[in-house]
């Protein structure tokens, strides 16, 4: 550390932090990244990546067990090694985490394995972490600091993990398949694990306080998903609030309340998936005068600047939606704004959101209800996959594409897709939205036949009242 002052110090090496660091390095900044855990953050180690590996196993299981019959393929007794399922997921995470370490090195970024706290407007204090290499200094100095500490799992007050009580983090390494599991929270994480455990044969019950799955999402989509889950045999308790939990004879008895009536269900394991909160404590925010908002999110301006002008923040720690790709996009934006090559501002409405259960869910922009609540006049185009040739051919006819466009110009305001490969399909709409495409272009772009993507074209045409196949 000859020249001790960096241009940029990034706290956190998740998809927000490491991407921002690389972009900064490309823009000729001298960058350090401080990480107390594994490079790659929650996304690579405890989130997106390992969970997708598990879901891939679930999908494989499901196609062997369930769909084989449809195809006239006979399968003998299906057995599986659940420990191997978990191990495979960890291998994927480790591989990518090493990849991040490599990328940081390739971009000549100093990777410091320590707990970083803000000690001044330009100072990050370093605290050693057990099992990591010795630290080069007690603190580093930087022209600017970027806080990218992400978020952590939430638990109910007084609750602790262990004995089959888990958050997503524990579930990812819980290598004993529970015979039954209660999942509290029907958000993205809860639904993905519900699908996973259901596929391997656990008896799954989802408990949600709100009256619909995926609170805040389009109601039609949420209902379609609920029906699909129920059809698969998942128990879905909507409008049920969690009260308490007791352990007896090796199982958990979870007490719920719905409309003043108490109810209890028994399960071997309990997964708490009631959302995530920003990792903004123990960072020394008070010390440098950084303000937080309700829920502990760090307050920023249009340039991602906190109330301490040399310190910036991005990703889960500043605002929802708590998504890896949002953090990456914000990280790049923040660094480019610092470098003066981009105007302040960030369009959150062009950030897609994806849920990887089956059927998949993918959305971007506003739902019909949200658009109307904002006083926008909209037209809506719908295309169910049962009217899509490819979906019928591959026997994946669940779900639909719903496209929300402005009445005046047909501007794409939002899109909700539920169905097979929805998360791959949404990118077309994201691109369209970013380019300010209207339903006219989406509907007139020739889509290959037969593909699921034709449903997007048809939904765009449907918004104009010109759908051909529905």
């Amino acid at each position: 550390m000859a020249n001790s002052r960096y241009d940029l110090a990034v706290i956190g090496s998740g998809p927000g932090g490491y991407v921002a660091a690389i972009r900064a390095s490309q823009l000729k900044m001298r960058v350090a990244v401080i990480e107390r855990d594994q490079p790659g953050g929650v996304c690579l180690n405890w989130g997106c990546i390992p969970s997708k590996a598990l879901l891939n196993s679930a999908e494989t299981m499901e196609s062997i067990r369930g769909a084989a019959k449809e195809h006239g393929i006979e399968v003998g007794e299906v057995r599986f090694d659940f420990k191997r399922v978990i191990a495979r997921s960890r291998e994927a995470a480790d591989k990518l985490s090493k990849g991040v370490r490599f990328l940081l090195r390739k971009n000549k970024i100093d990777f410091i394995e320590a707990q970083g706290t803000l000690a001044g407007a330009h100072t990050v204090a370093l605290t050693p972490v057990a099992g990591k290499p010795a630290l080069p200094a007690e603190a580093i100095e930087a022209e600017r600091i970027l806080v990218a500490t992400g978020s952590g799992e939430k638990l109910f007050p007084g609750m602790s993990v262990g004995d089959g009580v888990m958050t997503s983090k524990e579930a990812l390494i819980y290598d004993r398949l529970p015979a039954s599991i209660a999942i509290i929270g029907a958000g993205a994480i809860g639904l993905e694990f519900a699908y996973f455990y259901q596929s391997f044969g656990s008896k799954v019950t989802i408990i949600e306080l709100e009256k619909q799955m995926l609170p805040g999402f389009d109601a039609e989509l949420a209902e379609e998903l609920r029906k699909s889950f129920v059809k698969r045999g998942v128990g879905v308790l909507l409008g049920h609030g969690y009260k308490s939990m007791t352990r007896k004879n090796g199982t958990w008895s979870v007490t719920l309340e719905a409309g003043g009536v108490a109810k209890s269900i028994d399960a071997e394991a309990v997964l708490v998936a009631v959302g995530r909160g920003p990792s903004s404590t123990d960072l020394g925010l008070e010390k440098v005068g950084i303000e937080t908002e309700r829920g502990g999110f760090i307050r920023i301006d249009e340039s991602f600047r906190t109330s301490c002008s040399s310190i910036y923040a991005i990703g889960d720690v500043i605002r929802p939606p708590l998504l890896a790709h949002k953090a990456s996009a914000e990280g790049i934006a923040a660094v480019e704004i610092m470098a003066g090559i981009r105007a302040p501002g960030f369009d959150l409405l062009s950030i897609p959101g994806c849920i990887y259960c089956e059927p998949e869910v993918a959305t971007v922009g506003l739902s019909e209800a949200d658009a109307k609540a904002r006083g926008l006049e909209v037209k809506v185009g719908r295309m169910p996959f049962r009217a899509n040739g490819k979906a019928v051919a591959v026997n994946q006819t669940e779900g639909f594409v719903k496209l929300v466009a402005s009445k005046q110009y047909g501007e794409v305001i939002g899109c909700q897709i539920i169905g097979h490969h929805a998360t791959d399909l949404i990118s077309e709409v994201v691109l369209g939205k970013t380019l300010e495409t209207t339903t006219a272009e989406l509907g007139r772009s020739v889509h290959p036949h037969p593909t699921l993507s034709e449903a997007i074209m048809e939904a765009a045409l449907a918004a104009e009242g010109e759908a051909i196949n529905f």
């Binding site: 105007a343 006083g375 110009y409 047909g410 300010e436 495409t437």
Partner: protein, 511 residues
């Protein structure tokens, strides 16, 4: 004789201006009100308009150069003066045309003979050839897919794009803070004339669109040179508003024109018109000046209102103690995303009263009465020498926080890039709030064709009698002006009392 075009004083503190871009070129026909050039001033980038009809003869100040206010920057040949020998589309060099013109002015000749005649000519010639457009203005087909000239061909410094953007952003912010934006609390400060026709004010300028190539071959050439970088949405919006995309500065990657740029462009054009009226020379005693389009509209509408609508006024005093408490407690709970202002609360109370007294949400129509299906409340907001009336649509369906959000959205829009026509049209009732100006009491003029307008005065501390005791209370006067052709005193009185009842029992506004 030629007319000299001088650097206009576009803001009261402006001393000099820089030509960013000439929008007209020598040989182009120019009409009164046409945009001539983009000028950078100390306040903002603005569009300079022509005050006369004629043909642009010579450009004296190159793009990128500055001149003091009053300096001659171009010359214009008036209609009826000797025509140039221009042969129309085939003539490639407008500047030369002007220079060769036997009737060319002394000034033009002088400059041609002087030490620095070339720059203006050079830059213009470069543009003329680069644009592959005819020098004769042509109207673009509306609704057609006529390709527009290639933006790449325009001389434009791409590398300085982001700086331009940053500068633009700064300028917009400066104008917004200064004069044009409604105050953050959305308490409009306004004149006693509450409103002009909202649509008329909001209507985008639909002036003739020039520079679109008119012959087939030229279209092909323009197509080869590269496409305009503009989003499909921006194209549709521009076409609807009759804007030539070659005039719009793109803020997207590589100068791509987005919808926001179109909105900004429309807003700047409007702004310029407002600003033209505040130049000091136009306020000098002993002079007469044409009114701006907006001022004219206001004049006509207000005169029409007072001439045709028999107004009567009903005033009540509202005890605001409970509303003040409600606002404070809402702030304390931080339940809602947007802070709820007094104005939002008054809009909600008025919407509820309008839902009950439907005749107040109506229009007199040739011996008939039209009762509107929706409650769209316009809020009169003062801007430089005029008013705009942003509208909160469908108030009957909106909860108080939704009204606050809608109001906040309008304020944000004003700050970010202007209103769209929709935001300023369709009001069925108007509220004029002078609370911020501390007025005791006032009455407003009805905005035709609406049937009534509510004037809201300031909340003041006053001695009030409560349970036989004199205590200090917070009170506010509200006055409704009604169209007596369709509304009688009883209805007017009940209506204001209904608003009063809601404001004095504001818990009802949260249900």
């Amino acid at each position: 004789m030629s007319n000299e075009i001088t650097m206009p004083k576009l803001s009261d503190t402006m001393e000099e201006g820089k030509i960013l871009r000439w929008l007209k070129h020598p040989g182009d026909t120019v009409h009164h009100g046409d945009a001539l050039a983009e000028v950078e001033t100390d306040k903002a980038d603005m569009v300079m308009e022509s005050f006369d009809d004629g043909v642009l003869e010579e450009i004296r100040l190159k793009e990128g150069e500055s001149a003091r206010v009053g300096a001659v920057i171009a010359t214009l040949r008036r209609d009826g003066e000797e025509k140039s020998k221009e042969t129309g589309a085939a003539q490639p060099q407008g500047t030369m045309t002007a220079a060769q013109d036997s009737g060319v002015s002394a000034t033009a000749m002088d400059s041609a003979a002087s030490d620095e005649p070339a720059p203006a000519h050079d830059s213009v010639a470069a543009q003329s050839t680069g644009r592959v457009t005819t020098l004769r203005p042509a109207r673009r087909r509306r609704g057609g897919d006529t390709p527009v000239p290639d933006s790449e061909a325009r001389p434009r410094n791409r590398t300085s794009r982001s700086e331009d953007d940053a500068a633009d952003a700064g300028n917009v912010a400066a104008t917004t803070n200064g004069i044009d934006a409604p105050s953050p609390e959305f308490h409009p400060a306004l004149s006693a004339h509450p409103s002009a026709a909202p649509t008329a004010i909001a209507a985008p300028p639909r002036r003739p669109v020039e520079v679109a190539p008119s012959s087939g071959t030229e279209v092909a050439v323009a197509g080869e040179g590269g496409k305009f970088r503009a989003s499909p949405l921006a194209r549709r919006a521009a076409e609807e508003a009759g804007i030539d995309l070659s005039h719009v500065r793109g803020s997207g990657p590589e100068g791509r024109i987005t919808k926001r740029d179109i909105d900004n462009f429309l807003r700047e054009q409007q702004l310029f018109k407002f600003r033209r009226l505040i130049a000091p020379r136009e306020g000098l005693p002993g002079t007469r000046e044409e009114l701006s389009k907006m001022r004219k509209t206001i004049a006509h509408r207000m005169a029409q209102s007072k001439r045709e609508i028999p107004h009567f006024y009903v005033t009540v005093e509202v005890d605001m103690d409970e509303t003040v408490k409600l606002k404070k407690s809402l702030e304390a709970t931080e339940l809602f995303e947007e802070d709820i202002s007094y104005n939002d609360i008054i809009v909600k109370a008025t919407a509820l009263a309008l839902a009950r007294y439907t005749r107040m949400n109506a229009s007199y129509d040739n011996d008939g009465i039209v009762i509107y299906p929706n409650i769209n409340i316009g809020m009169a907001v003062a801007i430089e020498d005029g008013l705009i009336v942003p509208v909160i649509h469908h108030c009957e369906q909106l909860t108080l926080p939704e009204i606050a959000r809608a109001a906040h959205r309008l304020v944000t829009k004003a700050a970010r890039g202007g209103f769209t026509g929709e935001d300023l049209s369709g009001a069925t009732f108007t509220i004029s709030n002078m609370g911020m100006l501390g007025v005791e009491h006032f009455a407003a003029v009805i905005v035709p064709p609406q049937a009534a307008i509510l004037a809201v005065s300031a909340v003041k501390e006053k001695p009030v009698a409560r349970n036989g005791q004199v205590v200090v209370g917070k009170t506010m006067m509200i006055t409704v002006a009604c169209d007596h052709r369709i509304i009688d005193g009883v209805i007017g009185a009940r209506f204001v009392n209904e608003i009063k009842r809601f404001l004095e029992n504001p818990a009802s506004l949260l249900v």
